[in-house]
């Protein structure tokens, strides 16, 4: 096994990977941008090196700098996390050329699956069912429109190099198509440095169900079953769960077999995910393969009882898989929510800033993976995800209720966040029943008020609380320093000084 591994990422995923590395006795090397000097992942690592200024292109995407750090520190392998260089075949190749193990699939497999239309063609050849669409990127909006009209609206415009919903647009009518296509290209160029977009049929009311696979260098491959990621807002996953509530054992087995078959067809090695659309009749269509660890991997870890990062390490070290398909099973139910620094009261716009207080739920069946803590800052330069939070329960309903309990305990103060919105999703009847599709969020968005204002006695008691908070801080501030209490005062002294204890003249 490796003795030292570099993690070419930041935030929660860098820390999540490092936790497993520490458990394996492997030394950790972090890289960071100038904006992340104070980031938690730098503190958590054994070694840490700055690789450039804040913009990703000048730091986290600098292959040369990152490989230089690997050389300097003697790191034998690089874990790319998700995003950044994780699906970059050129980087995987550069690692190989530099004699450093890339913890992920071979460059050829990334290439085969990375360009979405090429991947579609490969999968069609491998016998994997796909959604009807263009097989190549289309250069202009006008040409794309011709195709869209041929397969019929609604259609989906997607960035060929894309992922995570960036550069993705659903278009329901021809009149809005060209503007959307231009916007998608612009966003794709900005996000991936590649504006190529393609068009495919939009499957109405589908579930987004994906299959986790693991393949080793020795030709073995297994499915770790499915995740239902249908709760999405603007094509960004918000809630993920495993198992999928509507999947029969038979469809589950079929999807797993198809995914392993598809992975083998491209010589895949490592952890990867096959994303499918599942329609009302339980037909499933290949969407794309993510050739990396996913944000939502913990729901699989919880239900199957494995540590996917540890398995990645074993595979990267050339070891055979430690289990067969027959040895794997699902037990219980897990749900993950993504906690974002975004403002539901303000069109969900990102709300970077200082997290003044973060309190994470505890007790049975919860897991929190975060790159932030009280007093740390969510930077505007990177993804606004503050944490992924996972609950496990014996049944889906138990997990759902546990998640509601836990979210009541979760505090992220100082920045706007989506916790109340997540709660609203969890009580939506379609989510409760499990039969929801990717449109489940839309009616919630319409109804959702970020903050339900207090009324009647509750409002009066809240005013009492505010006044007591003021009063007690004043009292504490006036108390003799000799009491020695080094408890948190939240800067009360500054505030207290500016205040007057006097009567309001109305």
């Amino acid at each position: 096994m490796f003795k030292k591994v570099l993690i070419a990422n930041r935030g929660e995923i860098a820390i999540r990977v490092m936790r497993t590395l520490k458990e394996m006795g492997i030394a950790t090397v972090a890289v960071y941008s100038e904006a992340d000097r104070r980031a938690l992942h730098v503190r958590y690592a054994d070694e840490a090196y700055c690789v450039g200024p804040a913009p990703s292109r000048e730091s986290y995407l600098r292959m040369d700098k990152i490989l230089e750090v690997a050389k300097l520190t003697g790191a034998e392998a690089i874990h790319p996390g998700y995003g950044f260089l994780s699906e970059n075949a050129e980087f995987a190749q550069a690692c190989a050329d530099a004699g450093v193990v890339f913890i992920g699939p071979p460059p050829s497999a990334i290439e085969a699956m990375g360009e979405k239309t090429a991947a579609r063609r490969r999968m069609i050849a491998a016998g994997v069912p796909v959604v009807p669409g263009t097989e190549h990127p289309i250069p202009t909006a006008a040409q794309a429109l011709v195709f869209a009209e041929a397969i019929g609206f609604p259609v989906l415009i997607k960035a060929a190099a894309g992922g995570g919903g960036k550069g993705m647009r659903r278009v329901d009518e021809a009149s809005r198509f060209e503007e959307a296509f231009d916007g998608a290209q612009r966003e794709a160029r900005s996000a991936f440095g590649n504006e190529a977009c393609y068009v495919e049929k939009f499957v109405v009311e589908p579930k987004h169900v994906e299959i986790q696979v693991l393949c080793d260098e020795h030709g073995n491959g297994v499915s770790l079953f499915e995740r239902d990621c249908s709760v999405q807002r603007r094509h960004q996953k918000v809630i993920e769960e495993s198992p999928c509530a509507v999947l029969s054992e038979e469809i589950r087995r079929k999807m797993g077999e198809v995914a392993v078959q598809g992975a083998k067809a491209v010589g895949y090695v490592g952890a990867g995910t096959f994303e499918f659309l599942l329609d009302r009749d339980k037909n499933f269509y290949f969407l794309e393969m993510n050739t990396r660890l996913q944000v939502e991997h913990p729901v699989t870890e919880a239900v199957v009882g494995v540590d996917l990062v540890e398995e990645q390490l074993h595979i990267a070290a050339g070891l055979p898989l430690r289990f067969t398909q027959e040895q794997l099973s699902q037990r219980g139910h897990a749900i993950e929510v993504r906690i974002y620094a975004e403002d539901p009261a303000n069109q969900f716009l990102p709300s970077p800033g200082l997290i003044r207080r973060m309190v994470v739920p505890q007790g049975p069946g919860v897991r929190n993976d975060s790159g932030y803590d009280s007093g740390t800052e969510v930077s505007l330069h990177y993804d606004p995800m503050v944490a992924k939070f996972i609950v496990t329960g014996e049944t889906r309903e138990k997990a759902r209720l546990r998640l509601l309990r836990a979210l009541d305990e979760y505090q992220v103060d100082g920045i706007a966040n989506n916790i109340e919105f997540l709660k609203a999703c969890l009580v939506e009847p379609d989510f409760v029943s499990g039969s929801y599709d990717t449109g489940v969020v839309n009616p919630i968005l319409e109804r959702f008020k970020a903050v339900k204002p207090l009324e009647g006695e509750d409002e009066a008691l809240a005013l009492a609380a505010a006044a007591l908070s003021l009063h007690l801080r004043r009292a504490q501030s006036a108390a003799p320093a000799a009491s020695g209490g080094e408890t948190d005062r939240d800067g009360w002294r500054d505030f207290g000084r500016a205040r007057q204890v006097s009567r309001l003249s109305t």
């Binding site: 716009l349 204002p453 005013l463 505010a466 908070s469 009292a475 006097s502």
Partner: protein, 177 residues
């Protein structure tokens, strides 16, 4: 100990002034009067706010201070109050900032980079029309018009970096009130 025997805490709930009095009544005990309504409370401050007991009901109020505004969260919801002292209150009344009618200035709701300004000075705009596209955290965000009107002034251009609160546009809404 320096704890006041009887403290009046003026506050605002929306535009309405409220008078609150806090009277210590023993260790961790208080009588709090809110607009004449009397509450006998057990209470203590902790890192996340104020834990209270009222007639047996346990209310762990989360209190987040944003300047002089207190955002208080209870199990049934959350409200923001402006906690005032007499001087500040008088000042605010004078400037008449309490009005509340929709402001004709579009400020940036976030830090980011202006990607596109889709309107020019003098343009007539409809409700829901995209005015500005701003990028932050690699996502494009469209700022839309809340009501029909006219663009009076454009304060930014594509490529500009803005902070939350920076003025983007001035608008004149069509007569409605």
């Amino acid at each position: 100990m320096g704890i006041d025997r009887y403290v009046r805490v003026p506050a605002k709930r929306g535009a309405k002034a409220v008078e609150i009095a806090v009277e210590p009544a023993g260790e961790d005990r208080f009588v709090v009067t809110v607009d004449g309504r009397r509450f006998e409370l057990d209470a203590h401050a902790h890192a996340s706010g104020v834990a209270m007991r009222h007639e047996g009901r346990s209310l762990d109020a989360r209190v987040v201070w944003e300047g002089s505004d207190a955002v208080v969260t209870l199990p049934n919801g959350a409200s923001k109050f402006e906690m005032l002292d007499a001087r500040t209150y008088a000042l605010k009344s004078a400037t008449g900032a309490a009005g509340g009618s929709a402001k004709p200035v579009l400020n940036s709701p976030m830090a980011g980079k202006i990607i596109l300004v889709k309107v020019a000075e003098g343009d007539t705009v409809k409700e829901g029309q995209t005015l500005v596209i701003i990028e932050a955290m690699k996502m494009e965000n469209e700022l839309r018009c809340l009501a029909a009107g006219k663009v009076v002034k454009v304060a930014v251009a594509a490529g500009d970096i803005v902070k939350p609160g920076d003025k983007l546009l001035e608008l004149a809404y069509d007569a409605q009130d």
